[in-house]
C-alpha cells in the first residue's frame, strides 16, 4: 500500500475563491492510502515546495498528489521537488483543479465536488504508479534553421558563434527575406540593405553555416536531439559550385518579360536571374516556367555565354539527408494581397499599391531607382493617401481579414509618410487610421515627428471607397473627429495590408509536429515564459512565424531562440521521457502488430529462449522496445492483441483506475 500525501493549492484566489480547498483536503484525506492531506496558498512557491518536501520526509510518503494548475504548467516543478527529497519524480501526479475547475465553474459546491473527484482519480492513479527511470539519448550537434530571412540569419549566426554547425534552408534563390526588400527601417531611418547585407555576407563566410538556398524541407523524422531531415534542393539549372555570379547571363537572356517578384511585380526580370545584387549565394537561377530553352528546346544563349560552364538544363532536384539535434522555424510572413478589398481599388487601379510595393518604389535598387513615381503613368504623385489596418483587426468570422493587429503597419506608415515629405515637400500626405499604435522605444516620438515636423495629415477614420477616374484616384473617407465625409483627389493610395504567415508554414508545422494557432502562426510552449520554444521538444521559433513583429523584436527573438538551441546542443546526452512502452515477454506472441503502428521504428523483435513444459526450451519471437527511440504515444498498446504491450506512466491499469474513480461518485 502506498503512503500518499495530498497537497491542495489555493493559487492565491485563483482556485480558493471557487473551490473550498479545506473541504477538498479533508475529503481527500479520507481516501485509502492517504496519510497526509493539506492545503497551501502557493504550492509552486519555494515555501510550498518546502512544505511538500517536509511532508515527504516526515510522513515517509511513497506517492504525491498535487491539486493545482494544469500539469502542463507545474508538473515538472513538483516532480523536481519530490526528487530532491529522494522520491521518484514519477510518483507525483497532478489533479488540474484550476483550468478544469475553478476557472470554468462558478458554483462553489459544484466546483468543490468536481475538485474532489479529480483528486480521487489522481490518487487512484498514484496507487498504481511505479518509480520510473529515464534513459538517455545522444544529441546530434547541428541545428537546422528553416527560413533565411533576418530571423533565420540572426539565429544561425548566434548558434554558429557558439561553435555549433547550422544549416539554413531557404526556399528562394537567396537568403535575405523581406528585410532585403525594405528601403529604410524605423525608428532610425537607416537603410535596410546597409545593415542586412553585411549579415548575409557573414552567413556566407561562416564555416559553421551551410546554406541550402532554393531548397525546401521534404520530410522530418526523429525527435529532439535526433532529427533526420530530407532537404529537397530544387533544380536551379545552374551549377552552384561553378557559377561565379558574374551576371552576364542575366543581362543577355532574351526572355525579358518575367514579373520580378523581388520588386513585387512592378517591373520585369529575365528568365535566368539573380534576385538582387547582394544576393547570397550569388548564383543565377533559371525560371523554368519562362525559359525558352526549357520550354521549346531552342535558345541556349546563357549556356553559350557562361564562361564557367555552369548552365545545366538537365539538372534535377536532389534530396539531401541531414541529421540535426534542434530545428528552428523561421518561416516568416507575407503581406496579405488586398484583392478582397476592391472597394479600395487594388485589383483594378494600378496606382493603388501595398506598403511593400511602395518600399520597392522608394528603394534605390527598385524599379524606379529610388524616385517615387506612380506605376500607371510614371509621374510623381502629389497627393498620397495611406490606409491603415487593411485586413487587420477584422471580426474573427470575417473571412476576408485577420482578427489580429499586424503590429508593424503604424510605424512603417509613419516612416513612409516622413520619407516622402522629406524628399518631396510638395507632396500632401494623408494617413487614415483607426488607432495609432506605437509601443516601443522611440516609437511614439517617431510618429509624433511625422505629424509635428513633417506635417503629415493624420485623420481618424477609414477609407470607404477608391475610384479611379481620368488618372485621379477619388478617395471617399470618413473623418470621425470632425464628423465629415472627405473626398480627396489622390495620385497614389497605399494600403497597409495585414501580415500573414508564409503559406509554407502550415506544411512545415505538420512535418515538425509543432502546433499552430487558428491564424497559422506557430504556437509557443508558454505564451509568457517559453516564447521561443514550440511545445514539441527540440523545435524552436524565430521571428514572425510566431506572431507579427518588427525588426528589432525579430532579432531579439531570433537570438533568444539561438540561446535555447545552444543550451540543447551543449548537452552530450538528453534525458529521455521514461513514459515509454514496454512489452511483457511472457504475454507477447510476436505477431508484429505493434511494430506496424510504431511511428518511430522503436520496436524490434528478437528470438528468445523460454522454459517450456517438461524441462524443454522454446524459442519464441518477442517484441522489445528501444526506450531511447520510443516517444510514448501508446499506439502499440492498443494494437497489441495479447495485452503484452503497456505504457509506463499511462498503463492500462492506471487509466482504468482513473475511469473507475470518476465514474464512482
Amino acid at each position: 500500500m502506498q503512503r500518499i500525501g495530498v497537497f491542495i493549492c489555493h493559487c492565491g484566489t485563483n482556485i480558493a475563491a471557487t473551490v473550498d480547498v479545506k473541504a477538498v483536503a479533508e475529503a481527500l484525506g479520507r481516501e485509502p492510502g492517504v496519510v497526509f492531506s493539506t492545503d497551501y496558498q502557493y504550492m509552486c512557491s519555494e515555501s510550498g515546495q518546502t512544505l511538500m518536501r517536509d511532508a515527504i520526509r516526515e510522513h515517509k510518503l511513497t506517492g504525491v498528489v498535487v491539486c493545482s494548475c494544469s500539469p502542463r504548467m507545474h508538473e515538472t516543478t513538483f516532480r523536481k521537488a519530490a526528487e530532491k527529497e529522494g522520491l521518484n519524480p514519477y510518483m507525483v501526479e497532478i489533479a488540474n483543479i484550476r483550468e478544469q475547475v475553478s476557472w470554468i465553474h462558478k458554483d462553489v459546491a459544484e466546483a468543490t465536488e468536481k475538485a474532489i473527484i479529480l483528486g480521487r482519480a489522481a490518487i487512484a492513479k498514484v496507487h498504481l504508479n511505479k518509480p520510473l527511470k529515464a534513459g538517455e539519448s545522444p544529441v546530434t550537434k547541428r541545428a537546422l534553421v528553416i527560413g533565411g530571412g533576418i530571423a533565420g540569419i540572426q539565429t544561425a549566426l548566434d548558434i554558429a558563434e557558439a561553435g555549433f554547425e547550422v544549416d539554413i534552408v531557404e526556399k528562394e534563390p537567396t537568403i535575405g527575406g523581406k528585410m532585403a526588400q525594405i528601403d529604410k527601417t524605423f525608428p532610425t531611418l537607416d537603410c535596410a540593405a546597409c545593415i542586412l547585407t553585411p549579415k548575409m555576407v557573414d552567413v556566407a563566410q561562416n564555416e559553421k553555416i551551410k546554406i541550402f538556398s532554393y531548397s525546401e524541407v521534404e520530410s522530418v523524422k526523429g525527435f529532439v536531439g535526433n532529427f533526420k531531415v530530407a532537404i529537397r534542393k530544387k533544380a536551379r539549372y545552374v551549377d552552384e559550385e561553378k557559377c561565379t555570379g558574374c551576371g552576364i547571363c542575366t543581362e543577355k537572356c532574351p526572355q525579358k518579360k518575367v514579373p520580378n517578384e523581388f520588386n513585387m511585380g512592378l517591373d520585369t526580370r529575365r528568365a535566368i536571374y539573380i534576385p538582387f545584387a547582394q544576393a547570397v549565394p550569388k548564383v543565377a537561377t533559371i525560371d523554368a516556367n519562362y525559359c525558352t530553352m526549357m520550354k521549346t528546346g531552342k535558345c541556349g544563349v546563357c549556356q553559350k555565354l557562361c564562361g564557367a560552364g555552369a548552365i545545366d538544363y538537365k539538372q534535377q532536384d536532389t534530396i539531401v539527408e541531414r541529421e540535426y539535434g534542434a530545428i528552428v522555424a523561421a518561416t516568416g510572413f507575407n503581406p496579405m494581397k488586398p484583392t478582397q478589398y476592391n472597394e479600395l481599388g487594388y485589383a483594378t487601379c494600378e496606382d493603388v499599391v501595398t506598403s511593400l510595393e511602395l518600399e520597392r518604389l522608394m528603394n534605390a535598387a527598385g524599379p524606379t531607382a529610388g524616385t517615387l513615381l506612380r506605376p500607371s503613368d510614371k509621374k510623381h504623385p502629389h497627393t498620397i493617401v495611406f490606409v491603415q489596418c487593411v485586413g487587420s483587426r477584422c471580426d474573427a468570422e470575417n473571412e476576408k481579414g485577420k482578427p489580429y493587429c499586424s503590429k508593424i503597419c503604424c510605424m512603417y506608415t509613419a516612416k513612409h509618410a516622413m520619407l516622402i515629405r522629406e524628399k518631396y515637400p510638395d507632396t500632401e500626405v494623408y494617413v487614415f487610421y483607426i488607432d495609432v499604435r506605437t509601443p516601443g522605444k522611440n516609437f511614439d516620438e517617431f510618429y509624433r515627428r511625422a505629424v509635428e515636423q513633417y506635417g503629415v495629415h493624420y485623420v481618424k477614420g477609414q477609407v470607404g471607397k477608391v475610384v479611379e477616374e481620368n488618372g485621379v484616384l477619388k478617395v471617399q473617407a470618413s473623418d470621425l473627429l470632425s464628423g465629415e465625409q472627405l473626398h480627396i483627389d489622390a495620385d497614389l493610395v497605399v494600403l497597409a495590408t495585414a501580415v500573414e504567415p508564409d503559406k509554407s508554414a502550415r506544411s512545415i508545422a505538420t512535418m515538425l509536429t509543432a502546433s499552430m494557432d487558428t491564424n497559422d502562426f506557430f504556437t509557443e510552449a508558454h505564451a509568457k515564459l517559453r516564447p521561443v520554444e514550440s511545445p514539441t521538444a527540440g523545435i524552436f521559433l524565430s521571428g514572425v512565424c510566431q506572431g507579427p513583429k518588427d525588426i528589432p523584436e525579430t532579432v531579439s527573438q531570433a537570438s533568444a531562440a539561438a540561446a535555447k538551441v545552444i543550451g540543447l546542443l551543449a548537452k552530450d546526452k538528453l534525458t529521455c521521457n521514461p513514459c515509454v512502452a514496454e512489452s511483457d515477454e511472457m504475454l507477447c506472441n510476436g505477431c508484429s502488430s505493434c511494430e506496424k503502428v510504431c511511428p518511430y521504428g522503436a520496436i524490434t523483435y528478437t528470438d528468445k529462449e523460454f522454459r517450456g513444459p517438461n524441462r524443454t526450451t522454446l524459442i519464441r519471437r518477442v517484441a522489445s522496445v528501444n526506450p531511447a527511440v520510443c516517444q510514448g504515444c501508446g499506439a502499440c498498446t492498443v494494437a497489441c492483441p495479447s495485452g503484452a504491450m503497456d505504457l509506463k506512466g499511462f498503463s492500462n491499469r492506471q487509466i482504468m483506475a482513473e475511469v473507475d474513480a470518476i465514474c464512482k461518485m
Binding site: S70, R72, P535, P599, G634, V638, V659, C663
Partner: protein, 145 residues
C-alpha cells in the same frame, strides 16, 4: 423531503496531452465554461485510448464518453490520431451492437488553440447526453459492492 434530483450525467473525456488537453487549458484560461459533469483524463495521444477504456467507463456507470485528439494530420506523434479514428469507428459498430446509443460516444479533433471549440463541444456533448438520460445498458455487468 428529497426532491426529484435533476439528472446530472457522468461524462468521461479522454484528451490527448498535446492538443485537446492544451485546448482544455486554453478554455480554462479564457474562462469558457462547460458543465462540471465533464471530467478529463489525460493521455499522451488519442491512440493511447483503448476502446476497452470506453467500455469500462460505460460499465462503471458513465453516461457519455468523448475522446478528443489533434486534428488529422497534426498529431504530435505523426499518425496516432489516424489509428484512433479507425479504432473508434470499429468501436462504434460494437456499441451499436450492444445497444448503447450512438450519441453517447463522440470523437472530436480539438487543437491547442481551440479553447472555444473545446468549451462548445463539451457543452453540446453534455447537453446531448443529459437529454438521453441515464445509461442503464451495461448496468447488469457492473460490479456491485
Amino acid at each position: 423531503m428529497q426532491d426529484v434530483k435533476e439528472f446530472r450525467p457522468k461524462i468521461v473525456a479522454f484528451c490527448c496531452n498535446w492538443c485537446s488537453y492544451a485546448g482544455a487549458d486554453l478554455a480554462g484560461s479564457s474562462r469558457l465554461a462547460y458543465p462540471a459533469d465533464v471530467k478529463i483524463i489525460r493521455v499522451p495521444c488519442s491512440c493511447r485510448v483503448n476502446p476497452l477504456f470506453i467500455l469500462r467507463a460505460f460499465q462503471r456507470g458513465a453516461d457519455g464518453v468523448i475522446m478528443a485528439g489533434c486534428h488529422p494530420g497534426d498529431c504530435h506523434y505523426t499518425s496516432g490520431n489516424y489509428f484512433a479514428r479507425r479504432r473508434m469507428t470499429l468501436l462504434f459498430s460494437m456499441l451499436d451492437y450492444l445497444g448503447i446509443e450512438r450519441e453517447r460516444t463522440r470523437v472530436e479533433w480539438i487543437s491547442a488553440a481551440e479553447g472555444a471549440k473545446f468549451s462548445k463541444t463539451m457543452n453540446e456533448f453534455a447537453a446531448t447526453v443529459a437529454a438521453l438520460g441515464e445509461n442503464k445498458r451495461l448496468e447488469d455487468l457492473r460490479c456491485k459492492k
